[in-house]
Structure formats: structure tokens, C-alpha cells
Assembly symmetry: D2
Homo-oligomer: 366 residues x 4
């Protein structure tokens, strides 16, 4: 159920409608748009009686939303969600292409800094790297944990990049939200609804990666789980689905980008590294992802891929990433995207770890 | 790495090898078989030097296990794992077919008892029903939580059936292991490695359902996660995979049953309810599952499917379940299976809830 | 569009309706059922005006068929189609299970006879073997062509089995319909509509194998192509579909058997040899296919699988086929099926090749 | 088996090696490259003894080709195959992007000309349109047949575009090769090996579309079938594969473009119309296809999509195609592609139908 307010509805009117909804035992989600505010209604107990609300001051109409998703839908918020980060020019969902790069896993301070230095110089505004790794085998390297997060926080201080890293359970999420700027929910946890709810109670933006067998609707519903808890800063990410095709590790489904953009106001990125699993396919598919209209890229880069503790075979060499950025810079304008000039986010002044935490205040949303 | 002990190796010799392994910084998993004991070695730090162990008393050979799974493998344990339950004749993995039946979700005491009475009478030795439901939509019925678990415990007391129910996160797992006899890990959490590890630290058997896009190896690796933490009572369950085929909700892949049995000593069940998503397909596919050689069935039954809060469309009516059991009883002997006569587990004497917990002692393993 | 005649409608009335339909520029397909006759209307030019027909003598009702398939549908023919063969007790679609066995390809007279002798003795009433092989590589063995067909005809004479073999184009179909009893359209040609139409103009029954990515509806539409040309003796065959699963060559989708039987009157067989691609999975999945209710099996048997020119890895040894038949004989009665006793079709008296052709008259349909 | 000739090998030496190969009962396929000539050897009868050839004059080495494909491989021909058309500047596989546009089916002269006029004006050098339509239903519009081909020939005369149209069997292929410039083998016939062989005996270039469940290797082997008969002008085309994803009709697998280009010298196009099945996805995915590096596009355009007899829902309006071309023109240079200026192929002088046939001489290959 969705209450669409009149264009000139006052703050008081909006507040009154929200209070009414809550008094009926539901939850109100006011979502301000460029022209008007809509108020989403969620709650388990069944159907709201629309009559009660339709006659309130400032209400234009009450829409029964038949699609299973509500808060992710363009019906409830027409304008694209743009996620901003305090103290940074970086955005996700706006006209600038969001480029996230870094190693699959943080292996050591040296490795992380070596890669960070190169991807920052090439123009990435976001640094990605796993501290908690969901691995198929219990005997594989599982990540450095909080030590990895500390290294990531240092990289933010040093290079001014925003940090995105994965949380795999409630415990790691507590730490990730302290240290990082974006909480990543991996493909294998896309329907770990308990984790999605927990991420929904965080102040930090959440990036949800598409599960290997997830339909578009299931991907949107995963985002809906996060939003239903009150966190509206959600980013979607296509990373390949599982098919019979064996020339790539997964089959990258770029058509989901325009499909998401049609139905939802949320930004959607593409990860050609996991999406192909092969280094020589990452650059062509990155170009394609930008050309199809994605809001950004997630690319694995490693300075010594052959020594990587995970996913080395799909990581670009830094020189290849430079080349990728050069190509992407040419395609972006064709689809109306900009890429911020290199160095637009100057390194923050050095900070000790506790301050890293303090500094990562909640992002603002437009 | 696997240490195979000689057939006549003494308890002391086995203990000494385990201590040596642990002193090297690894973890030892002694697994007694009908003829000899094998000791699995797990640990993150790399390769063990086999020489150290090969010369110890009672050791027959040290095998480098090249497959990524170790503890689940028949290489490490030739005989089928048979899971037994204190105070019950029910087994899983032995010659008796394990039939688990019940509603998708526990909706109320009345509903649960109505279904339980019928499936117990038809010969099911296990009662299934969700107290925590992973639902695609955050707005759908999410289960009764601990209230549902209490109802399940009462059903065990009343009807003598063992209880299987799903845990969706660490918090619910704590409760499920208190109340239930088998902890179910759902398809959507098959690669929630944090949850698998936690289940591996439980004393209760764990049933891992195959993920919608999981390969055989990934399914075995999920079981390996549980076993690597020391819990060897693991049951696998095929429940359909995602394909292009649209005449059923999922495509039930019965060929995985002989494939699992070839590679692993763990029991493997089939869930034709989720595997087809259509009531009229459940009985034919249940027959097929028994004929293919599955160790048991997981079947949804509801006394009023049209009023079910979830998955009603795939739940059998109690009369249909009677008929299914009648057919299955005829096919089981062809594949060397028995079905215990009805009433072989008499109802336990009534017990108050706290005692329900006490009574569910850890199962024994053979 | 479907005209359902009254139960007591006379032959003259039926004929009159057919003539009316044809005079309107459509094609009439009278299909006699146990209780009443239905007349299917097909044609490209659009919608028939039902009024014209509804008022004719003997017409009960005119049904607009909204599903894209008509002639394959149970709407048009309620009773199962049973295909009979002149001079043989073998049937397909009746209560008897149809077992088709033989090598993937006819390699030589010696090989074919060696296998035929064993599968006939084990109780197969149909002999299968390819004379024209659709091979992925142009450099692989492509079959013996007409020489292979001659060998097959000899096997019919010698052992009394009916012959099923694949046609791959119009040219081979001409020959296959001369020599064989059933024309097989392979999975790769399931949407070779030109070939389907040509098969529809043959007097011999046609077995259509499901394409590797075919939905249920597409499979039924392939049969519809054959029937739309006037050949109503069509057999469907599930042989595995392509998915991400890698423990078998294809994923055998047994749920399509009850799905076909619900919608269509046509018989449906299962081919567990191609469906799994692994010898050790053929017997378990054959048991499952019978238990799920299939009308028959298609099984590859080779007396020297390791020397087979194609698909040896999935062919059973004759002894394994004996064992398979023994198991299948036990399961068949549970699903109301019989297996004809061995030797129920005595060998025909020896015949020279030309007579083989003459003898294979068109089958009758009930 | 592949004979690599020395860089300076004479014509006589090449001819002698070919004769030797043929005298051994095999087939020789001399394939001239920029630096040297290679000679492929094909034939069913087994392995060639390399010794015989290795010592001949001008031979550098004899390579056993272990991959199942030979003639399609870059091992045998390092340089890209570029297909040229007599009397036209259009090429496929060179630096110019090949754009093929037109309606799904030729419905009438008026419709075909209306569309042709617009796509020619927008810059397409190839006109596509079906005269023989493989339709899932036997009752759907099946194409105009030879009448459609005549219309296509007129369009070539009028607008100077080269014609690509589908052949569905031997009979239609005879006609298609008379009237058209490129013979299309549709996805459903990708493993109709009899048709592929027949196309291999044509002088006209053949475009093979990827089957809905075809692996990369199977696609290459389909091309190998054509080439093994002596026709080296083969074009591959990705048109989406079948997966569980339901937001598009098929899942367009753009990663196959760099994968093909790595293994094969053949050009590879992308068909985003069938690949998505939705008009609003065609332009974004066309941009992506060019960005990934495809050699061209196949796009459905209809002047009245809502009245189209087939696939209207995925056909662009002419104005949308103009916009697509404008976008594609901007992306092409980033990947080193050119798009020929509009009007670079002036209309041929009017010709009567018989001359249309005469004029379409065989293309040259580089």
C-alpha cells in the first residue's frame, strides 16, 4: 500500500499520515521525491483499509501495490536514488560512474596498499577487498577478519577512497559497519534474510549482489528486505548467473541493468570479474556494462594475481585496469555518464584507527 | 589428508596419531568404520608432511585427498552413515526409509496437531514444520518462532515422532537445537558458511538442503563445513534446482541421489514438495525418489492446504499422503528398503516443555 | 477450435461436420474417443466462426482452444493414445511398459545381432539403434546409413522386435520409414519443423525426443506439428535437459512425465541413457522412470561398450540390462503396468530384405 | 591434423601437399593466411600418419589438432576472416561494423519496402527478413516462401543492401542461395547437421545462430560442419540462451564474443532482438554488443510493430533504430570499429528478378 501525497502537502500533513499509519499497527516509510512525497506502508498483519487514509489532508491517492516489492519500486519513488558520502565527491546512482576496484581478498597491508595505490591513481573512487570471504571449502583462506578491516580503514585515510567490503553474518556486519563505507551482501547470502534485515538496521549503504539463481524479482525483494527495516541506501549488483555455458565461470546477464532501472529507483552496478571468472573477459565486459547503462563497475585488481589467495585468475593486473579505465572513460559520455577526474577526492589527513570509525558517518540520500 | 589405521590398531594408537596431528597445528577427526578407523586431517595452514605420520604405530597409509571434500567422502569412511535417535527406532541412512512429513509452516497448535495426528498414523517417523520461514518477501508470514518450536516439542511428546525444523540464523539455531531433533539448513542458506559452521558445533544432526544453483560438489562442501567443526551427523536433501523448465517450480534432479551415494557415506533424502511445487506431482515423484534409491522423503502435508499460510499449493491432503505411503511401501522392498510398521515408536509419556528439551539427547552415529 | 460431437452422433453427422470445416478452408481432424468423437480444426488463416458449426446435427459444443496445442491435448481426446503394431503384441501407451533397447549406433551386423540377441532375451519388445547419427563433430562416425537400416530389418525378422531408429533429414526419413517401425526425431531436431512436417506425412509412428532446452509446451508443439499433418501416432520422450549441473551429462527431468500425461493423451517414454550419460546412473533412473509412471524406457545396451563408436560410456552391459529388467518388472505392477512375458513376440519367419519393407505396415491407433 | 606450410612455400608445393592428402583418402582444405598457408586435413577414417607429409617440400610442421574443431580455429588461420560482397563496400569481420536490420518476417512488399527504406537511410548495409519462418506452432504464420525471397531480391536492387535470410531445410536453402547474399541457419537448426552440410556446399556465406542450449564448442562445431564441406565464409551469431531468468525472453550471453574471437578467426555478430525479446532492451544491449567487440549487429525493425505477424514485441520502430545507430556510431570507434557512412553503397540499377539471381555472385574471402 502506498500513500501518494499532493505536491504541495506540508510537512505536518505528511507527519500526520505517518502517525495514523503507525497507530493502525503498520510501519510508515516517507520517501521524498523531487515533486511529491510518497509514503510506503509495510507490515505483516494484512491489508490496510485505504478509506481511513484517503480522506486525510494532503493525500492525493492511496494505491494498492500488487507487486511484491514496494519500497524498491519506481512507483513509490520516481527519481533515481543517489547515494552520497560525507567528505567525498563520490556518488552512486548519479551521473558519475561509480568504479569500485581492489583485490578479491585483503591478504596483507603490503598487498592492499600496493593495489590501492594503483587503482586510486587510475581513478577508482571506491576500494573493494574482502576481510571475510565466503569460500566453498572450509579449508580455503577465509580472510583476515578485523585485521583486514583495519587495513581497509587505513586505505580510506591514505587514498581518500570509500571502502566496500562484505559482511557474512551478524558478527562480521557489526564490524564492517564500523570500519567500511558500504556493506556488501554477497551472492551466496542474497536470500539470507536474517542478514538482510540486520543490514537494514545499519546506517551504512548496503550493496546486494545478485544470487547465482536469482530472478530479477528475487533480487528486488532482497533489497526490499533491507529497505523494509528503514535503510534506503541500497545498491544492486549483477555478478553473473549460473547456466550451462562453460566458457565463463558464470553468465553475465547485462540485460538486468535496464530491467532494474525500469522497475526500481535503486542504482545497479556490474561485476565483470565474478561475472566471467576470466581475466581476458573482464575488460570487454566492463565496456559492455558501461555501454548498457550500469551505474558503476566492481572490478578485481591484484598486483600479483598469480600469488593471490583467492580468485587470482580473474583479477586484472594494474596496467590492465589503467587500460580498462581509459576505455571506460570514452564510452561513459555516450550514455550520459561522467567519470570524475583522477584525484578529485584528496587523501584525508592521516588518522589512527579509532578515528577511522568516527569519520565514516552515515551517507545522505537524494 | 587422511590417515588410514590398520584394522587391528588399538585405541591408544589412534589416540596417539590424533595427538600428533593436533600438535602439528591441525585438527584430527577420527572416524570409526566397520573394519578400521580413518583419521581425517583438516586445517587452513597448508599441507601436512605425511612422513611424520606414516611411521607411527598402527598406521596403514596416509592418503593425500585431492578432492576438495574430505570428511564427507567415502574415501574416509566406506560404510554408510546411519543416524540414530535416543528412545526411537527411527534411523536415517540405514535400511529403513526415513519419511519426514508435516506442514510447510507451523501456523497454530491446532493445525500442527491435526496434521501430526494424520502423518503419524500413516507411518511417518519424523515430523517437519517450519517455525522460522525464509520468505522471499519481508511482508509474508515469517513463522511463529519459539512458539512454533514449543508446539513441535509437544508433538514429539504426543506422537513419538522426531522433529526436524529449519534454523535461519545463529539466534534461531540456538533455539532449534534445544527443541528439535534435526536442524534443517534451507536451500537459500546452503552457502551461508557462518551458519553451517555454527551447525557444525551443535550436537544435533543437521540436514542440509541443496541450493537452487548448487553443484554436487558445492552440496558436499556445505556438508563438509558442518563436519569440519566436528558434527558428523549430516543429512543431505535434494529439493529441485532452478532451470528454464516451467512446468514445475523447480526441476527435481533425482540423479544426484546415486551420485551422492557413490562419493559420500552421508544419507540423502528427496523433497518432492519443493522439488515440484505442485501437489499433483508429489506422489509420482515420491515413488520415483524411493525407486532411485533415496534414503528418505520430505513431504509437505496440510489438513487444509487452501488455507495454508505458505506453500499450500504443493501440500498433500492427509488422504493423499496415506495413498503415497501405501505406494511407497510397495516400492521400498524392490530397492532393499524397509518401512517401519506404523506405531513402532509409541508416544512418549506426556511431558512439560522444559522436559522436552532435556529429552532430546544427542543422536548416536554408526 | 474443437468440435465435440454428441455421444450418439452418427458417422454421417461426423462426416458432414468435417466437410463443412474443409469447405470453410480449414482442415478437419476427426478423433474418435471411447465415448464420443471430437473434431479438431486447424489452419493458418485465423479464427473460425463457431456459429456455423454449432448448429449442425450431432454437434454438442464448439470449444475455442486457447492453448497453442490442440491435437495433442486431452481436451480433444480424453483417452490415452495406444499405438499397436501389426503382427506384434507390443504396444506403446497401454498398460504394458514399452522397453526399447539396443546400441547407440549400428556399427556392424555382428555387433547389432550380439546386442539384439541379449536384449530380446531379456524381454525388450523394441530394438533401437542409429543408422544415421547426429554427431557434434563432422569428423565423428556418422552411422552406416542404409546398410544399418538393412541390419535393423534383419533383426526384426530374426527376433520379432519392432525397430526404432532416427531420421535426420528428409532423405533419411524416406528410408527409415521403409525399414523401421518407429521413426525417431532426435533432440537436436525437435524444432526442425520441416522434418516434423515430413514425419507427419508418414504412416509410421513418430517418436519425438525433447530438445535440450525445450519447455513442456515446445515439446507438445513439436508433436502438434507431426499431428497437424495427419499422423496421430506420436510418442514423446524425455532424455534430459541442459542445466548447470555437472554430475550427469544432462539433467533428467522426470517431472515432465506426469505433466505430459495431465495435458496430453500421447504416450511418454524416458531415456535414462542420454538423460544421465553415465552407465552407473542408468539403472537407478530407469527404476525411477517406471515408478514415476512413464509409458516406457529407451535404454542403450552394448555388448562391448568400451569399443562402441559412440556413447559407450553410457551403454549398459547386457548383464546389467538383465538386472535392470528384473528390477523394472518388480516396480511396474505398483504403478499398474505390466511387462509382457519374454518371448511373447515369436521371431517372424526369416525374410529377405525386400519383404522386410513390405511387412512393416502402418500401425493401428486406439 | 594441420599442415603448416613455410612462409615462402610456392603454389606448386601447396598443391602437391593437397594432392598427397587427397590421395591418402582425406580431404585437404588450404587456407591462405597473411604470412603463410595452412592446410587442414579432414576425413572420417581416423588418423593421418604425419610422417608422410612432414618430409614434403615447403612443409614447416604437421600439427595434431586435439580440439574437436579444426577449420574454425585460430590455430589453422591466425588472421580474422573478412567476408566481402561483390559490388558492395560491405564487409563482415573487418574493421567496419556489420549492421543487419529489417523485420522478423517479410509480410508484404509494402511492409518490406517501408522498413528497408528506413534502415537503409539509417546506415544498415544488410537487410534481414524471414521468408521461411520456423514457428513454435504449426498454425502460426510460416512466411511467404519464394514470394518473400523475390521481395528481398528487389530490396537489394533498390537499396543496395545485401540480403540475409533463413533457410530451414534443403528445399528452402536451394532458393535462399539463389536469391540472398547470406544464408542464415537459425538457432533451432544449429545442430541440424544435414542442413549445415548442405550449407557447406553452397557458394554463399552462411550465418550460424547459436542454439538456445549450445555451448561455445558446439557453436564452433556447427561452423566446422559448414567449413568441412568447403565453405569457409561462416559468420557466427549470439542470440541469447535459455536460462531461468525471466525478465528477458532469453539471456544474451555477450561474453561469448571475446571467447569466440580468442579461439576462432570467424566473425561473430550479436542479435539483441531475439536475445532479449523486449523492445526497450534492444538499444542498451546493442550498445553493449558493440562495446564488447562484436563484429556486427542483427536488429529487428518494423514500421508497425504492433501489426507484425511475428515478434512485433521485440521490433524497434524506425525512429528507435535511427537513435540506436546514432549511439552505436559513437561507441564503435572506442573499440576500433568504423561504421561506413550512409549511402556508401549506392542503389544498384533496377533489375528484373532473374537478374537478381545472376548478380549475387559468390563472395570473396580474405
Amino acid at each position: 500500500m502506498l500513500v501518494v501525497m499532493q505536491a504541495h502537502a506540508s510537512e505536518d500533513q505528511i507527519r500526520a499520515v505517518c502517525q495514523k499509519i503507525e497507530s493502525l499497527g503498520y510501519r510508515a516509510h516517507p520517501i521524498p521525491g523531487a515533486e511529491r512525497t510518497a509514503i510506503g506502508i509495510t507490515g505483516n498483519q494484512g491489508e490496510v483499509e485505504p478509506g481511513t487514509l484517503e480522506e486525510m489532508a494532503g493525500v492525493q491517492e492511496v494505491i494498492r501495490v500488487t507487486k511484491p516489492y514496494k519500497l524498491v519500486s519506481r512507483d513509490i519513488k520516481e527519481d533515481n536514488t543517489v547515494i552520497r558520502f560525507p567528505g567525498s565527491t563520490a556518488t552512486i546512482g548519479g551521473s558519475a560512474l561509480a568504479v569500485m576496484a581492489g583485490p578479491c581478498a585483503i591478504e596483507s597491508r603490503e598487498q592492499a596498499f600496493a593495489v590501492a595505490e594503483r587503482v586510486a591513481r587510475a581513478g577508482a573512487q571506491f576500494f573493494r577487498g574482502g576481510a571475510y570471504k565466503p569460500r566453498t571449502s572450509p579449508y580455503s583462506f577465509q580472510g583476515l577478519g578485523e585485521d583486514g578491516l583495519r587495513i581497509l580503514a587505513e586505505i580510506r585515510d591514505q587514498f581518500g577512497m570509500r571502502i566496500v567490503t562484505e559482511a557474512i553474518d551478524h558478527e562480521s556486519l557489526e564490524l564492517v559497519e564500523d570500519y567500511a563505507d558500504i556493506i556488501q551482501i554477497g551472492a551466496r547470502n542474497m536470500q539470507n534474510f536474517s542478514l538482510l534485515r540486520r543490514a537494514g538496521r545499519s546506517r551504512k549503504p548496503v550493496m546486494v549482489k545478485r544470487g547465482m539463481a536469482a530472478t530479477l524479482e528475487e533480487l528486488l525483494m532482497a533489497a526490499e528486505y533491507v529497505m523494509s527495516e528503514g535503510n534506503y541506501s541500497v545498491i544492486l549488483c549483477e555478478r553473473g548467473v549460473r547456466t550451462f555455458a562453460d566458457h565463463t565461470r558464470n553468465t553475465l546477464d547485462l540485460s538486468i541493468v535496464p530491467a532494474v532501472q525500469r522497475l526500481s529507483h535503486l542504482p545497479v552496478l556490474v561485476d565483470p570479474s565474478h561475472g566471467t571468472g576470466k581475466r581476458n573477459k573482464v575488460t570487454p565486459l566492463s565496456r559492455a556494462a558501461v555501454a548498457v547503462g550500469a551505474d558503476g563497475l566492481l572490478v578485481e585488481v591484484h598486483h600479483q594475481p598469480d600469488k593471490a589467495l583467492s580468485d587470482g585468475v580473474q583479477s586484472l593486473y594494474p596496467d590492465q585496469f589503467d587500460e580498462l579505465m581509459a576505455q571506460v572513460r570514452q564510452i561513459a559520455p555516450v550514455v550520459g555518464r561522467t567519470i570524475p577526474p583522477i584525484g578529485s577526492d584528496p587523501p584525508l589527513e592521516p588518522a589512527i584507527t579509532p578515528r577511522s570509525k568516527v569519520r565514516t558517518s552515515a551517507p545522505s540520500l537524494s
